[in-house]
Symmetry: C2
Subunit: 494 residues, 2 copies
């Protein structure tokens, strides 16, 4: 494709996206496609000859769009928001256009140094401790996801726990070859029942094993991790000769956005010498607002690594997780390998950061561009305003739910996620839960809105997550009206 063709088709694509943004509300939020529908519209064999880009755009409308669930629809309330805003899309486009691969500082200094700067900007915007800044012993890095951030944190924690032997010797035992004794016994991870599933996945990936994930009790009212039970488990495991590797506490759990008491957990971790990772994937960015900065309580003292996702609530399109460590040495110790073909003068000088050593893959895109673009376009002020809108809308919805005797609010929301359920008076729990799930299926099938569910103490809760940049009072009001209608229809239909 020549630059002239790119100019022409590129502008068509920009118009296509702007049109999409304008008309996104006309689509059903959740795709109505059934398994195989999209596949059936796509030729079985690749084309022998090249085609014009117009053909692709036509097929995009005809075949692909009916199979798209519209995450950017203002009535998308499922999972967590995944904001794709104009400045983020354009920052990503610049990254694709430049096509640089930033595995090493030397392979594009700007890719590394802009990232150095924006992760420091994020640390400042969120009010994070000084040790997380690039000028300190630690620093920040953009990962693809909070899953990968957890995984990388575990590897750094293993490196520290094993005195550097884990990467070399592995976790298995062998006669005559002594991995540091503790690691040949079971290494343990500590989570709560509310911790994201990526921790169990990381336990599998790292060879720790799902059975070595210890589940700490939660407070049954708040679903927050119980530091006293954590303390007891750590003591028990240490007495049994196991090696505690890492505790993962969460600021804003996936199910109900519960906030673990990080300060108290940090104290326990410090006492037992265990790495503390804090997963703030969803809620962490809320700290841009001073009135929500209490979510960072305890960060100053004992947190070893922290991650939050601008690609959820903070207006930056997937993928963009920012992760910080208080000390970069164990991270690099765990992940750095230097084959001859990657050696270069800048790396040898020790003056530069090579981000390949901070992540799982070798290659990396220029993701800092989109975060830079978002922060500059909105400014700190605009970021705060966006978060506050979500919090305000969630509080309003929670108010309506509380005031309606047919519904039960799980708890007062502190962020943008509202958890609730119809009471279905007179129905036994199991039937009530089935009715709630059926209600959700009907709402989602209508295309008017999209929401998901979770289970707390075995009971189904609906999750309605607010935080899209296009979501207004009217969308939340409409959602609440539809939920009320379908609930009454469901109750009458029994």
């Amino acid at each position: 494709m020549t630059p002239e063709e790119f100019r022409r088709y590129g502008k068509q694509v920009i118009d296509w996206i702007a049109d999409y943004q304008e008309k996104v509300e006309a689509y059903p939020v959740l795709s109505q496609a059934r398994p195989g529908d999209v596949l059936a519209g796509l030729p079985e064999h690749p084309p022998e000859r090249g085609e014009g880009f117009e053909d692709l755009l036509a097929d995009l409308d005809r075949v692909i769009m009916p199979g798209v669930t519209h995450w950017q629809h203002p009535s998308f309330f499922a999972y967590f928001p995944s904001n794709a805003t104009g400045p983020a899309i354009l920052g990503d486009l610049l990254s694709a256009g430049l096509g640089v691969q930033g595995m090493l500082w030397a392979t594009s200094p700007a890719c590394t140094e802009l990232e150095n700067r924006v992760v420091d900007w994020m640390a400042e915007l969120l009010g994070l401790p000084a040790r997380f800044r690039m000028a300190g012993p630690g620093g920040g890095v953009i990962q693809d996801s909070a899953s990968s951030a957890c995984l990388v944190a575990i590897l750094a924690a293993l490196h520290r726990a094993g005195g550097g032997t884990a990467a070399r010797e592995g976790l298995s035992a062998q006669e005559g070859l002594s991995a540091r004794e503790g690691l040949t016994r079971r290494p343990k991870l500590y989570v709560s029942s509310q911790t994201h599933s990526s921790l169990e996945k990381a336990a599998r990936i790292t060879g720790i094993g799902a059975e070595n994930v210890r589940v700490v009790d939660v407070d049954p009212a708040t679903m927050a991790m119980d530091p006293a039970h954590l303390d007891a488990l750590l003591a028990e495991d240490a007495a049994a000769g196991a090696t505690p590797v890492m505790v993962c506490s969460t600021v804003g759990t996936t199910s109900t956005s519960a906030v673990d008491p990080v300060a108290a957990i940090g104290e326990v971790c410090a006492r037992h010498g265990v790495w503390l990772h804090v997963d703030g994937a969803y809620a962490g960015v809320a700290a841009v607002c001073p009135e929500l900065r209490w979510i960072n309580d305890g960060f100053e003292e004992h947190v070893d690594s922290y991650a939050t996702n601008p690609h959820k609530w903070l207006l930056t399109n997937f993928d963009c997780t920012v992760m910080w460590v208080g000390d970069r040495e164990p991270l690099i110790g765990a992940l750095s390998i230097l084959p001859e073909y990657l050696r270069n003068a800048a790396t040898a000088s020790g003056e530069v950061v090579d981000y390949r050593d901070w992540q799982i893959p070798l290659g990396r895109r220029f993701r800092a561009l989109k975060l830079w673009s978002v922060i500059r376009w909105y400014g700190a002020e605009g970021l705060r305003e966006h978060v506050r809108t979500g919090v305000r809308l969630a509080a309003e919805l929670a108010g309506w739910i509380s005031a309606d005797p047919a519904f039960e609010l799980f708890e007062q929301p502190r962020f943008g996620l509202v958890c609730f359920r119809p009471r279905w008076e007179g129905l036994p729990d199991e039937e009530a839960d089935a009715a709630t799930l059926a209600l959700m299926e009907r709402l989602n099938a209508s295309g008017d809105l999209y929401l998901t569910h979770t289970r707390i103490h075995g009971r189904v809760l609906l999750r309605l997550a607010i935080g899209g940049p296009a979501t207004t009072d009217a969308h939340v009001q409409a959602a609440w009206r539809r939920i009320g209608e379908e609930t009454r229809a469901g109750a009458a239909g029994r």
Copy 2:
């Protein structure tokens, strides 16, 4: 940013990229920035108020561009090519604009089903075995990198080797808790000295440990893995009670694009019951050309997993690795976890693919769009033509090198990578190597071209990788002229 603003700024960005494509040759290929230069041009604090997008574009030119190494420059010959073509960039832009997150089929059916189709298209274009198709027991998936593909392959292999116990029990030993016996002893990976460093990194990540990576001998002339030595190591380890987990063979090594004898290696693996992964990151895509399809020899019989990177040579911007498995069961067995909040009717039906279970992170972008766009724009014909141009230019350069008594060609290139060195007649090896590295530094510092190096049998070789879509005869001729000039200057300067 409103849709109207997006329309306006988006077209400016498209023009900026088209202009960049037109003038990319005016830039020095390798950035001349020194550590800290870019950082110094960026404000220390994030802006309080939002700024116009014009400001960002101005800073892009002023601050960022001097720190960019131009991977899309037609005289970029370093590492391997990382093609970012128009259709790929536009496919990526569409993905950013739609902003869907395809972790589950249900979260955007089109994201999964278009991917199902394009990985099948790729399998057809490359002539891969039927078991790698989505209709078979296996199937394909887009990963971010060949590093992650190797990692995922190891996890599937561990799952199979441990009878499904690895993910649950981990790799460490504990009294009274029996991981399948073999896995509590040392699990082993088999590579050659030429295997990519991501395998050692994956050994660290998975808890296998770098010391449990066995390095199989290579043929000293071709640098290809020796199947007889592999056989011997496997027998030795089995006798010692270790568990062989996976063999990684390579089609097109990073150092010199050596091709391991996959057919013979596959036979050995089958005999020992070991998983065979083939890493075709760079060269695998060459199989689009029938005359290069010999690189797939042995794939029909014994290969368990295979990966190649359209994001290197096949005109698709980073990241886009396609990975196939012959059997998807161990992969999903190793990686699938289903928390309540991800449960949905489509997943429960078993009729759909949920790609989150085929990869490390949970979230995923709609990367199939860019591969779809590239295949349709170029057609099979255009893809073949692109690969053939790279192969032809490499062969021509190799001819000039062979004909010049001042140079030594490492071997006749079969793909786009040419490895060679000046002879530096009369210099002892160590001084000759230093002179070669100094030559490379001078060439790269000139900004006229960018190439990298490797070491084979301890001696430095220059690597010149051809494969950019804008690279023509004239660029390769100019590179060869500059190399000759600098070499003569270096020889005269002693």
